[in-house]
Amino acid sequence: MSAAKWRKAMNPGALAAQGAGAPILARLDRRFAGAAASPATVARESSPTLDSAALLRHGLLLAALIVFPFVATPFITFQIGGQCLTLGLIALSLTFLAGYGGMISLAQMTVAGIAGYTVAILGVSGTAEISLNWPSWLVVPCALLIATVCATLIGWLSVRTEGIYTIMITLAIGVAFYYLVLQNYSVFNGFQGLQKVYPPEVFGINWRDPLPFYFLALTCAAAGYAWVRYLVRTPFGIALQGIRDNPRRMHALGFNVVAHRVAAYAAAGFIAAVGGVLFVWYNALITPGSVGTSWLINLLIIAVLGGLRHPVGPFLGALVFVLLQTFAIDLIDRERFNLVIGGVFLAIVLFSPDGLLGLWAKLRARMTTRAAGVGRSTISTQRP
């Protein structure tokens, strides 16, 4: 499927699709045609600094996130806050790939799982005959490296095909990895997985206590968020978005489409790997269940629920997901959680393909038009 169609598929509103895609290509065309765009416009368009309103928003959000654990109970800090940031970080890798690269990969949880399994196998776990007990300063970089390399390989394999095929191939890869860890006992310890995988004690702090873990996850999540925000404004990120919108045109402009896509998989893989290490520490174990189909799909649900248009989407989606997971069981039977999450996902895909962010943008656009007649362009609310 061509990327233009993909845009249309994700956004029947069409307005934003045209608006979002066009400037980037126009900009690239201009740049490569050597036409003299006024330097001021170029500088404003590609400036990586945030305007003051956005800076204020980010500052307020960060302040709220820092204050949050001091007012919430330890249970909420760890179970809701920590889990939400960790899952959001893994889902962020999918948002980056899907929202900016136009490639929906279902194997991001697999990448996170590879990082988690590497931590458990190379480091310390409850299964002494498998774990190698390497020191943790070596284990974590190794895990990130191995997972990123695997993500690059997955990317290299799946960018050979396009659009809708990507979903099928990454799903096949993800499920194949699930069956591998499920059936293999010599390395992955089969069904039971590896238990008692704790984060190392650094500075005498137990990093699995609610407060330290929350801030660890918050730091990683904020770094991931900032990195994605930065990345999509670099020449690489701009080119990637151009490829999303029209790969043929970008190819004609002299860009190596395959290399950009594989690089996007690598970058996303690194984010997922960091999230995967955090996730294994959060759960203190890794089992085949955590890389099974339901988790592959859950990650997609989180990303789509929040919205693929902005890197804050996955965290929003993760918040809704974790809240549902934690509190929906009070309203209905615990066993029926999948029905609830499936229904919510279905409703979002059917009625608001841009997720909660899209819903918010629509609401805001309606309010501004009501307040100021014509109002400001809706595009500015939809793009980061």
Binding site: A176, G342, G343
Partner: protein, 314 residues
């Protein structure tokens, strides 16, 4: 790749396979032949399920990720009918019809309204797969349901050279797979609706312009595709068993079969199913812990050399 190099590659592959088979027969002829038969019977189940998947994909460019759920649904419906009436053939028909009706509703009520938005359709089918799986879990619980083979197919088939006896049911499955394959081929190549479907696969817009009611063709195709999944479910309920999670397994099998065979091609689905079925059973017989890796290696090799599948069009 040049033509000569590709021919050399195929010859090399064939030689390797022949060498491995010779070794297998010399080592333990009975095990080898039983594994071949097991592989082919599994392949015929995969073919029945995946042919529906590839048919729907070829015509509508719609990756129906609820296909595995339709398989499981058909299996459970067949189970209930067989329990109530005791007729296996009736169960087969009920499984086909039940899944076909659900598939038809899916197409008419939801997917039709997002024609051309492939990704959104796929996401919707994911949501539906989750919901169906959970409802089935609710009704039938997580217990293993096993259906009995009909009495006239029970017991072994005796008197076969070397392997002596082989399950009659499994043998009949092989026949059924061939029958369905031939029926599908006749339907697609000899009937008017089949011609419309093939024309739609090649050029949807032109078919509509020729005055054919494309929506009707879509609905029929989707119903047949879903029905084949349901039919596979009833067959699989005897050969394998029904537990939550089987839907994913068959979905994965269908995905790999159509990726390897080529999307939208029924013959490709047959080739892909044969490869996957044989690879899985040989993996299980000769290297149990790594059987999934075989499947994966096949996927990687095919994608590396033929990104559109063995019979896929570039």
């Amino acid at each position: 790749m040049s033509k000569r190099a590709s021919v050399a590659g195929w010859v090399l592959l064939a030689l390797l396979l022949v060498a491995l088979s010779v070794w297998g027969i010399a080592d333990n002829a009975r095990l080898f032949l039983v594994t071949v038969l097991n592989g082919l019977t599994l392949a015929s189940l995969y073919f029945i399920v995946a042919s529906g998947f590839t048919l729907v994909f070829g015509l509508m460019r719609n990756v129906n990720l609820a296909h595995g759920s339709l398989y499981l649904l058909g299996g459970y419906i067949g189970y209930v009918v067989a329990e109530a009436t005791g007729w296996w053939v009736l169960a087969l028909a009920a499984g086909f019809l039940g899944a076909a009706v659900v598939g038809l509703l899916l197409q008419v009520v939801i997917l039709r309204h997002m024609q051309g938005q492939e990704l959104r359709q796929t996401l919707v089918t994911i949501g539906i797969a989750i919901v169906i799986a959970d409802i089935l879990l609710w009704i039938f619980t997580g217990e293993v349901h096993q259906m009995e083979a009909p009495s006239w197919l029970k017991g072994p088939l005796r008197g076969i050279p070397i392997i002596n006896a082989y399950s009659q049911y499994r043998m009949s499955l092989l026949v059924l797979g061939v029958v369905i394959g031939v029926a599908l081929w006749l339907f697609l190549n000899r009937t008017r609706v089949g011609m419309m479907i093939r024309a739609g696969v090649d050029d949807r817009a032109m078919l509509a312009a020729a005055g054919v009611n494309v929506n009707l063709v879509f609905a029929v195709t989707f119903a047949i595709g879903a029905g084949l999944a349901g039919l596979g479910g009833v067959i699989g309920a005897v050969e394998l068993s029904m537990v939550p999670g089987e839907d994913t397994r068959l979905l994965l099998a269908s995905l790999i079969v159509v990726i390897v065979g080529g999307m939208g091609s029924v013959v490709g689905a047959a080739i892909g199913a044969a490869i996957l079925g044989l690879a899985e059973t040989f993996g299980l017989a000769y290297a149990p812990t790594y059987s999934v890796v075989f499947t994966f290696v096949i996927l990687v090799v095919v994608l590396a050399f033929r990104p559109r599948g063995i019979l896929g069009r570039a």
